[in-house]
């Protein structure tokens, strides 16, 4: 059974169709990179996985649960999937440690000590333990994003979603975040990453999905994708990106 499975997902904003018949899957332990030009629907697709965006047609199954099903307990489902956002979205009025503790205590029902211990372990892992008592506004973008990854991991997720985790970062901070992600991939975490970082994709991705105008145009293994993409649109996109 795949960890995440999309079956003919369609989504409209009013009369505008943002997702067209998207079908794909992410197996357990697999790292899937989703790329494509801006406005191609890749961010929307990944947000459908934990129902941050509703969709009108089709089905998404996460670990055996149907996301669109009215009876699915969404907070519970979401707590099992870690998510990292483009703009970090740490809670600015809480310290780094409190950011990690909050959902552990309020959603998972962990005790304060247990949560803090877990948080500290994860902060250490992303190299941010020294910053635990600071507020997000006192950290650099790269540091904030590492904290955000730790916040997602603190929930012991079965999969992690990354929505353009490095595109709001200054160039010199991108690598510190990618390093954490690479390490995570090597540990066998199931990951779905919307990103333009093709270096990251080459290094750890198992599969690459290319989207354009709401459609999944290419869904291939890493080697196939970087070897000879079948669609012209993907070739054009790759040639533009790889020039840089």
């Amino acid at each position: 059974m795949p960890m995440i499975e999309f079956k003919s997902v369609n989504k409209w904003y009013g009369g505008f169709q943002v997702l067209r018949d998207c079908t794909t899957k992410v197996e357990k332990g697999e790292v899937v990179v989703v790329c494509g030009p801006s406005g191609s629907g890749k961010s929307t697709l990944i947000k459908c996985v934990n129902a941050l965006e509703p969709f009108q047609q089709g089905e998404i199954i996460v670990n055996g649960q149907s996301v669109g099903d009215k009876t699915t307990n969404l907070p519970r489902l979401r707590s099992q999937i870690g998510m990292v956002f483009q703009h970090f979205e740490l809670f600015p009025h809480m310290t780094v440690l409190e950011n990690l503790n909050l959902a552990q205590v309020k959603v998972l029902g962990r005790g304060a000590d247990e949560a803090a211990e877990k948080s500290q372990m994860l902060l250490k892992r992303v190299g941010m333990l020294d910053h635990a008592p600071k507020f997000p506004g006192q950290l650099s973008g790269g540091q904030q994003q590492r904290v955000a990854i730790a916040r997602g991991l603190a929930m012991d997720p079965i999969a992690m979603l990354f929505d353009e985790p490095t595109s709001a970062l200054d160039p010199e901070m991108i690598n510190e975040v990618l390093d954490v992600m690479v390490e995570l991939a090597h540990e066998g975490m199931t990951m779905m990453c919307v990103t333009h970082e093709m270096g990251f994709a080459r290094k750890v991705a198992h599969r690459v999905i290319f989207m354009d105008r709401g459609e999944i145009v290419e869904d291939a293994t890493k080697d196939e994708f970087f070897g000879t993409p079948r669609s012209e649109r993907a070739q054009l996109f790759l040639s533009k990106i790889l020039q840089h």
Binding site: L52, R78, S79, M83, L90, H93, A103, F135, G137, R151
Partner: protein, 248 residues
């Protein structure tokens, strides 16, 4: 201008006997503060709830919140005061019975705090709504993504930041509330302005009486400013310049 100054008037005895005029003003100030504090609590709690309702995705609560705001915003406060004191009790017989039998000052106090509290709640609701809507949409998504329920997302993520941002407008709403409490004199509540006028009528020292009341209001409004500035500093988030700095 011909005017006979008489600043000693505050130390004369009132016609009721036993008390001095300055004590009369202080008792008025006491009612002004009592009404303001209780009405403020009502306004903040109801305002937070209504403001939150207006930002929910579901239609019905948002509509209710909108109706609430429009209702209280479009009727003069004086008329609302009359409605609470003279009209609403007619439709609630137990309330009417209580009002007739109790010391009138309690009935006036109740009507005044309900009137001012709910009127101000509509204005605070608008600020709360603006505060929540000024937060990045990603904050709400991040809360949901962690598995927080809608209520938890508001309680731990959105409202704490929204309230920090809207401290400056809340400060001016607080001052408006204190000033508006003077309208309670129209239903007979002996608050500060009521007492100042009374002092003027008894002694013909209008100038002295109004000057004293004016000074007290200026001092209250300066103190309220100080308190809110202190609160703003206390809850300021390190590393965030924008927090609380929204007002110009």
């Amino acid at each position: 201008m011909n005017y006979n100054w008489n600043w000693g008037v505050f130390f004369q005895e009132t016609p009721e006997g036993g008390t001095l005029y300055w004590e009369m003003l202080v008792s008025g100030l006491g009612w002004t503060l009592a009404v303001s504090v209780v009405a403020w609590l009502i306004a903040m709690i109801v305002g937070a709830v209504i403001g939150t309702l207006r930002t929910l995705d579901s239609k019905a609560p948002a509509l209710f919140g909108h109706a609430w705001v429009e209702l209280f915003r479009n009727i003069p406060l004086l008329v609302q005061m009359f409605l609470w004191y003279f009209v609403i009790p007619e439709f609630v017989p137990p309330l009417k019975r209580w009002m007739v039998n109790t010391d009138p000052v309690y009935a006036q106090f109740l009507a005044a705090v309900l009137c001012l509290g709910l009127f101000t709640s509509a204005r605070i609701a608008e600020q709360v709504r603006a505060g929540i809507q000024s937060l990045p949409r990603g904050q709400r998504l991040a809360g949901s993504a962690l598995g927080l329920t809608t209520w938890q997302t508001y309680r731990y993520v959105l409202l704490p930041m929204a309230f920090r941002i809207i401290i400056p407008p809340l400060t001016s709403e607080t001052m408006n509330l204190i000033k508006n409490s003077s309208i309670a004199l129209t239903i007979g509540l002996a608050e500060l302005t009521f007492r100042a006028r009374e002092l003027g009528e008894y002694t013909f020292s209008f100038f002295e009486a109004f000057t004293a009341a004016t000074m007290v209001y200026v001092i209250i409004s300066m103190s309220a400013n100080r308190v809110m500035a202190w609160v703003e500093r206390r809850v300021a988030v390190p590393g965030l310049i924008a927090a609380g700095g929204g007002g110009h």
